[in-house]
Symmetry: C2
Subunit: 408 residues, 2 copies
Amino acid sequence: MDAADPLGATIRDRFVLDAPSDRASGDAGVYLDGNSLGALPRAVPGRIADVISREWGEMRIRSWDESGWWTAPERIGDKIAPLIGASPGRVVVGDSTSVNVFKAVVGGIRMAGKGCTEILVDATTFPTDGYIARSAARMTGLAVRPVEPTRIADEVTERTALALVNHVDYRTGELNDLPGITTALHSAGALAVWDLCHSAGALPVEVERYGVDLAVGCTYKYLNGGPGSPAYLYVRESLQDRFDSPLPGWNSHAEPFGMAPDYAPADGIVRGRVGTPDILSLLALETALDVWDGVSLEDVRTKSLALTDFFLDCVAAYVPPGRVRSITPYDHGRRGSQVSLECSGAAEVMTELIRRGVVGDFRKPDVLRFGFTPLYTSFADAERAAWVLGEVLRALPEQDPRTAGAGG
Amino acid sequence: MDAADPLGATIRDRFVLDAPSDRASGDAGVYLDGNSLGALPRAVPGRIADVISREWGEMRIRSWDESGWWTAPERIGDKIAPLIGASPGRVVVGDSTSVNVFKAVVGGIRMAGKGCTEILVDATTFPTDGYIARSAARMTGLAVRPVEPTRIADEVTERTALALVNHVDYRTGELNDLPGITTALHSAGALAVWDLCHSAGALPVEVERYGVDLAVGCTYKYLNGGPGSPAYLYVRESLQDRFDSPLPGWNSHAEPFGMAPDYAPADGIVRGRVGTPDILSLLALETALDVWDGVSLEDVRTKSLALTDFFLDCVAAYVPPGRVRSITPYDHGRRGSQVSLECSGAAEVMTELIRRGVVGDFRKPDVLRFGFTPLYTSFADAERAAWVLGEVLRALPEQDPRTAGAGG
């Protein structure tokens, strides 16, 4: 399967994967946590060395113009755009995902009709989205109603300003129905705000095709931008003129160096900028995005589904019956690019897996989470992970489910 | 004067200053724009190479714990704290200055008495502070009143929630009276929110001694953290329990990995965090802060005043009479660490200065701005800059002041 993989050795070789995960053993291990922190693209260290030593160290302040620092947020946004199905001029990079959720939700509320009294928030969302959405609603006088994604079409009303929904559930790996939910929201006159953290770079995302209004996403998972690399904001073209940011910093001003006391927003997606952009992290991300050159997102999706299918088959074959249960949908249409296994004593199991070179992560109370990043995860990696999981579970006694929660 | 400088060769040698500003000439030039972007500390390239290749490339996700990534915002805050007169646990690093102004102003408004109807904003402030303060006021239902810093004591009323003031005016280099203004605000029951962007690292700042309530600052000027390096937030200890952030991201949660649907703020300054911290930039800043080891802020202030005095003397000696006028106060008590000269045709003059290796910056409509960063600017630099300025002004015809604005 690896030999037949169109994303095989050539693409995988764009990443640093041969470094020992454990210097004592020299074993590179299996990395199945690219959905938390993507692996290092090979070109990044050299690029950042040059940014620091030459662009900062020698050119200093001149680099804001001459090295293209000032325009990096839009330029890198345009590089992300094709990965989420957006045209140039729709995406801007900067700030954390949480800060971008705040911009998107407040911005969306301000675009909504005056009669709107509430926003819907994906009840299964990554918590920060919910915390920030509540703050946005509190500061604009709206209520927040948590709703399961599958219930949004039934729950949206004419009083709903928008819904904030995750494209892929971070915990279960379930892929939500972006086209259907977006259409249902629009039918009720509400805006669709999508969090793409767990889908962009793992599968084709088509924000323009399906009329998504606003979207945010991080860049350190499947986009491999590095730890805490800046997030992005998408604003649909037809809404950009009405985007009224709650964080109107000088970088979003029509004339940032005019230093005018009154605020006048820039045209276009620049309006989503806030303060001085974080250049080291932005330029690491820019170089990291080069790994997508020549990669078809259809191939990515095909491989992602094949990898997760194969991993589930290997788990069924190698893991003692009854010790784990997949909470990731088997239906391809509802699956992201991770497999989450419920497992009694999951915290201890993951610690032992990592000790044996298989890196996934643990989510409370009892979930083993394995991310499959199609650009660099191999079928051999998937098989080894399932094999080692079987070994670990055979070595660890089965916990009494009534007390297993204490292990989480 | 350079030979007698206690911050002379040893400290200066902690920075990369010998690289040619112009590769053709090989001349390192004179860098007087450290108040926009600090020079590169020598230790940064090696540290970041290790962060990228080993901590990210090899250890990957394990580095959040094992390399201390997760706690970097507070740890680096504690490293900035002594530079602004704060104890440990009062400063957290992350996000841009603009985002931190939003946190500080909304947080301050929420701490203020219920009868408050307005905030005061330094009328001479760096514009982004004003834009963000207006957004914070709009979202909390308060009015904004711009006030000259020297008028704050007279203008504050019992309806004033807080005043947002710059410690040093970015344009003129004037040092505002932090102790006096803070006391006046407190007498009226208002909070003092200070922007330290142009003072921290250039002179002693004493936030705790004078009872400052909230403060923000950037780290890429006198703190040399690199282009767009993250900003910081200071919250007075006695107010931390009441700090109610408008950006309650998961990093500020009492149990961030609990993934609880309900928000519960962490104790202490961690409450000022928002989303996933930007590790490359944070760790570059952490290493950059090592240049302060063994440096006395009293020596920094003494040298800053001596450098700016000397530069003004050299300008008087070398520049044709009447061509420039200092708008920076001569009074040491009112001077920051820059000299701003009004000059007809300033934009063209600065372009020519930079071409001749003297890097300052231009601020509309007619200001030449020269920053003196005491850790690495020498008296020889100051003299050369004034000498070249004289040459440039003799070479450029004096513009008719009635049309000079067009050059800006």
